[in-house]
């Protein structure tokens, strides 16, 4: 019924709901802030981890995940609130785009909305809030770009910067105690890519056992496969043929073929023909004169034996990624037909040594001294698969950030420095702007300042005092100061060597403000009736 007592006809479907105005806004604020609060405690070097337990029958205690990575936490959560979904979405995008800062972006968006809610309570129209935020965002972005520095890609300083950035990224993760070691490892891996941004070429192999310290970067390239029985286990100066071809039995691909015979003899004949066809194929492969044959698909015993007889080492079942990496590392071409042995020089890959090695309890194949040295392998060791998974995610974050840095080259100081500087810029701007927007600009600054505040709180320090001191230091013109999270003081970031990648900060700022604006503009939420599912 409406206000005057008319019975309103039902317009939407039965289970659909519609919230308007304040109710809608309240709903989105509550949802978004709740999600941000949830991941807030993982922020910073003293942030805590979360256990994620899958739902569903029979899997309660299996496959649990322990993680500190915002994107992983948010991705695995099932939320119903639409505004919360937007936050999860930006965190995912951040992960895809730059790989790190996934928690920061969700927390920043949440804090912006928290400030926005206060402004709405003061009866400031959402559109005015948005107008202010837009000014603030541009100011903050300008300041962020101004304070960033750039070094030449080949210089020692740049290399040092990379190590520092990797250290900063890793410091909030499980492996923080070994961060120097891993930072070095990641930087070496990324520098080997020589500017290419294809993370596929860095393979991460996880093997339970040993301690985290036993992890290492292998110069060569490791394939997690075994050499077929009966072949040589060590090949020097190998010529490698990488293939993607059927070596089980060669199906006839012409549609509608069918074998129809009228006597046993014929069967034998066809069998022989089939065998001969395979032999023919093997012969053709042999003309290339490889010493190692890697195939993506299964190899049946017969061709395998033929190849082994000719002294060729056979590796079967290399999955698609593995095969691409072998091809990239050794400079081989991936073959599917074998009719041009004269091109053998061009298509064969080359490496100095192939040998079977044991890591932990698993046998693997190691390629050393490859022709094109782009691909490399990081072998991770650790006490349990959960630890390994988390280390893998951390290393992935670090690698992503490093690759982004190599592309973008600009860096900023870490330890909350960039956020505080941006906040200061917003506050200066707020003094100059006329109208209600000024409140929103100030609020934007406060939201930015919340990031270092939360980092302090997570470390158990007195955030109010520290952040105030921080502000004063910046005011004095000490532009390299930042939070020293080991001592709980304000330290000098250039001495502590805490640096961060500009692109990560930029993306976080943009995505968070865009998402906050999107949520702020909503004054009506319509939820359609959920689709009825047939129970299986």
């Amino acid at each position: 019924m409406d206000i005057v007592g008319n019975v309103l006809p039902q317009v939407l479907k039965d289970e659909a709901t519609e919230d308007k105005g304040e109710m809608a806004r309240l709903q989105s604020f509550v949802g978004a802030i709740a999600v941000a609060d949830l991941v807030k405690t993982t922020l910073g070097p003293k942030g805590m981890d979360k256990i994620l337990k899958p739902t569903g029958p029979g899997q309660e205690m299996t496959h649990i995940t322990v993680t500190n990575d915002g994107a992983t936490i948010l991705k695995s959560m099932y939320v119903e609130n639409p505004a919360a979904k937007i936050l999860i979405e930006i965190s995912k995008t951040q992960d895809e785009e730059v790989g790190d800062g996934t928690t920061t972006v969700a927390v920043l968006a949440g804090e912006l909305l928290r400030e926005g809610e206060k402004l709405i309570q003061k009866r400031i129209h959402p559109q005015h809030v948005i107008a202010g935020w837009r000014i603030a965002r541009d100011v903050a972005l300008k300041r962020l770009r101004d304070i960033s520095t750039e070094n030449d890609i080949n210089s020692q300083e740049f290399h040092d910067d990379l190590v520092k950035i990797a250290r900063t990224t890793l410091s909030s993760k499980l492996i923080t105690s070994d961060r120097d070691y891993f930072a070095d490892l990641c930087v070496k891996a990324v520098l080997r890519l020589k500017g290419s941004s294809n993370l596929d070429y860095i393979q991460i192999i996880k093997l339970p056992g040993g301690t985290i310290r036993d992890s290492y970067l292998d110069d060569g390239f490791i394939l997690k496969k075994q050499i077929t029985i009966g072949c040589k286990r060590r090949i020097e100066n190998a010529k490698i043929l990488v293939a993607n071809t059927a070596m089980d039995y060669d199906k006839i691909k012409i549609y509608g073929t069918k074998v129809k015979v009228n006597s046993m003899d014929k069967v034998a004949e066809i069998e022989a023909a089939e065998k001969e066809k395979m032999k023919h194929k093997v012969d053709k492969i042999l003309k290339y004169q490889p010493t190692v044959f890697v195939n993506r698909q299964l190899i049946y015993n017969y061709p395998e034996q033929l190849l082994a007889d000719s002294g060729i080492t056979v590796i079967e079942h290399a999955d698609f990624e593995g095969m691409e990496r072998v091809a990239a590392a050794t400079g081989a071409e991936i073959l599917s037909t074998f009719d041009a042995p004269e091109r053998s020089q061009q298509v064969l890959g080359h490496c100095d040594l192939i040998e079977e090695i044991m890591i932990g309890e698993e046998k693997m194949i190691k390629f050393t001294g490859c022709k094109k040295n782009e691909a490399c392998t990081i072998v991770l060791r650790g006490a349990s698969t959960h630890i390994l998974d988390e280390v893998d995610r951390s290393i992935h974050d670090a690698l992503c950030v490093l690759i982004t840095t190599v592309k973008n080259k600009r860096v900023v100081w870490g330890g909350g420095n960039s956020e505080m500087q941006m906040a200061a810029a917003c506050e200066e701007e707020a003094k100059k702007v006329q109208g209600k927007q000024a409140f929103a600009i100030e609020a934007f600054g406060r939201a930015l300042r919340q990031i270092p505040t939360i980092i302090c709180d997570n470390g158990g320090y007195d955030s109010a005092e520290l952040i105030q001191n921080f502000k004063v230091e910046l005011q004095k013109g000490n532009y390299t100061c930042g939070l020293n999270m080991t001592d709980g003081t304000i330290g000098n970031m250039s001495e502590l060597g805490v640096k961060e990648c500009l692109r990560v900060k930029e993306q976080a700022l943009m995505a968070a403000s865009e998402a906050a604006e999107l949520i702020m503009r909503v004054d009506d939420i319509v939820k359609c009736a959920p689709r009825k599912r047939e129970r299986a």
């Binding site: 006809p9 785009e97 993607n244 014929k266 943009m510 909503v522 939420i525 009736a529 959920p530």
Partner: protein
């Protein structure tokens, strides 16, 4: 449903399952219909104008979209009420015909229905009301044409077009970057427009979305972007001076459509078949190569062996290109789509300056760009944004802007926005009302009131006092005889929309008023609703 009984107490059965159906008739039906339609219009009314708000819509599967676009909102609300559904269709037909103003048309229909409700209460017959609305509509349209102005779309680097695009984008979440996006949209449309015929084929503008970055990173690519990569990882990533062979047949052994069996009855047959099969691939590649093509785009898949042969013959290829992309590429590069390998000839190849792979972000996703096409007729707008919702909304907004520009190229007459055109029409309709001597006079007058509802709603959304600001604007229009006085939504200090440069197309405004009137007439004609009970 009420039952009628004969003298012996037996019910008359008129409809099948009569007892289980609901029926509303007469005034009750009118009112119920109007209220339902108004409920939809009310939801949309807060989205109107530059300071309008967005709606968050959760689909039955739990997907979230946030939008300001009227047609999208009503579509995704999944409305079930039959009369309210008419408004959904109203918004969609505005979208299909004009592309912009989809919110305005629903709001106007809502205002008209509101007026109709009071007239019904006065006891005026619905048909009289709709007649009156019809006559008023004609007057309004005529007046719109007299106050419209022709603009020079070429002048000042297409400034007028950019302004019109900005007006369309002003109400959306991307309004912060409206100027940049407006420029992109204008350039895109002008690139593909046929100015001599005053026609634009919007199919030639491809809108590709990709999450990541921010809305600023949205850019125009003079060429076609396809979300595919080379079929073999070791094919060259860049082909300059490309001669493109566009295939719609797979690099696979043929599959005749007639049902057939090939029987292998001897080893001889087996070998022959094998050789033949090998020959197929060699021939296919040879045919493509012989035509002089240096890149092949195929709508279908490749066999592994064929794929390698392509690599071996240094012929980069792309597989699984979607059908629409194939057509687009054909138009842009002047290629002919080739359905059989035997029909490849050098003349059928398309030409482009460069085909290359580009990469985004860390997620290792690659796309192909075809640049400098022979007949640069197709362009791509690549939209970026922080999340899927933003990207989707930006796509809808740019579509609106593109439609506005297209309409201006077709018909370069504009009216001014900010509610000024509606106000001017309202004044005209009101004058006309006094000349009518029949009952319709009341309906015509109400029509004017409904038109005034639009500026009222605009002012309301912008946080201004609706009654004062509309009254002020109206009196100034009358006093200064200036139909360009509207509501100062952006608080720029002037109410002259010409100074604010808020341009709307005449065709859109006309269509809005006509469509809204038609739907209202239709709703007013319904006096009986029969529906199953559980509906």
């Amino acid at each position: 449903m009420s039952l009628a009984f004969d003298d012996y107490g037996r019910p008359y059965i008129i409809l099948r399952d009569q007892g289980q159906k609901k029926r509303m008739k007469g005034l009750e039906a009118y009112k119920s219909n109007i209220l339902a339609a108004k409920a939809v219009a009310n939801t949309l009314s807060s989205s109107l104008g530059p300071k309008g708000m967005d709606k968050m819509l959760v689909s039955p599967d739990g997907d979230v979209s946030v939008t300001n676009d009227g047609a999208t909102i009503v579509e995704k609300m999944e409305i079930q009420h039959p009369t309210a559904k008419l408004l959904v269709e109203l918004s969609q037909s505005q979208d299909a015909e004009i592309g912009d103003g989809t919110t305005g048309v629903v709001v106007l229909a809502g205002k008209l229905l509101e007026q109709a409700l009071t007239l019904l209460d006065k006891g005026i017959h619905p048909l009289k009301i709709s007649d009156g609305f019809d006559r008023a509509c004609d007057v309004a349209i005529k007046h719109l044409e007299t106050i419209s102005e022709e603009i020079d779309i070429q002048a000042n680097e297409h400034e007028a077009l950019i302004q019109a695009a900005c007006t369309a984008l002003g109400s959306k979440v991307v309004s912060k970057r409206k100027r940049e996006l407006g420029k992109i949209a204008v350039t895109a449309v002008l690139d593909v427009a046929d100015l001599a015929r005053r026609d634009v084929n919007l199919d030639l503008i491809k809108i590709q979305t990709k999450t990541g970055g921010s809305v600023e990173d949205t850019r125009l690519i003079s060429g076609i972007l396809i979300d595919k990569d080379m079929s073999h990882p070791q094919m060259p990533k860049e082909v300059n001076d490309a001669r493109i062979c566009l295939l719609t047949c797979p690099f696979e052994p043929p599959k005749p459509k007639t049902k057939h069996n090939i029987n292998i009855s001897s080893a001889e047959d087996y070998k022959k078949l094998y050789q033949q099969e090998q020959q197929y691939f060699v021939d296919m590649v040879k045919l493509v190569k012989a035509s002089g093509a240096n890149i092949a785009l195929c709508q279908w898949g490749f066999d592994d062996e064929a794929n390698h042969l392509l690599l071996q013959n240094e012929l980069p290829a792309v597989r699984w290109v979607s059908g629409t992309d194939v057509e687009l590429i054909a138009m842009a590069t002047g290629a002919r789509i080739i359905p059989r390998f035997q029909e490849i000839t050098p003349e059928k190849l398309g030409k482009a300056g460069c085909v290359k792979e580009v990469q985004f972000g860390t997620s290792n996703e690659r796309m192909l760009v075809i640049e400098n096409c022979q007949c640069t007729k197709a362009v791509t707008i690549l939209i970026r944004g922080g999340s899927q919702m933003i990207v989707d909304e930006a796509k809808r907004s740019i579509h609106d802007a593109i439609c506005v520009i297209r309409n201006l190229i077709k018909d370069n007459r504009i009216v001014y926005g900010g509610g000024s055109a509606e106000l001017a029409c309202a004044i005209q309709v009101l004058q006309y009302a006094d000349e009518v001597s029949s009952v319709e006079q009341y309906a015509i007058r109400s029509f004017a009131d409904a038109l005034e509802g639009i500026p009222c709603c605009l002012a309301d959304n912008c946080g201004l006092n609706p009654i004062t600001s509309v009254a002020q604007a109206k009196s100034r229009q009358l006093k200064e005889n200036n139909p360009r006085i509207g509501i100062d939504c952006m608080e720029l200090g002037t109410t002259d929309m010409k100074e604010q440069r808020i341009y709307e197309t005449l065709s859109s405004k006309k269509q809005q008023i006509q469509l809204a009137t038609q739907v209202v007439k239709m709703i007013l004609k319904i006096d009986d609703v029969i529906a199953p009970d559980d509906y």
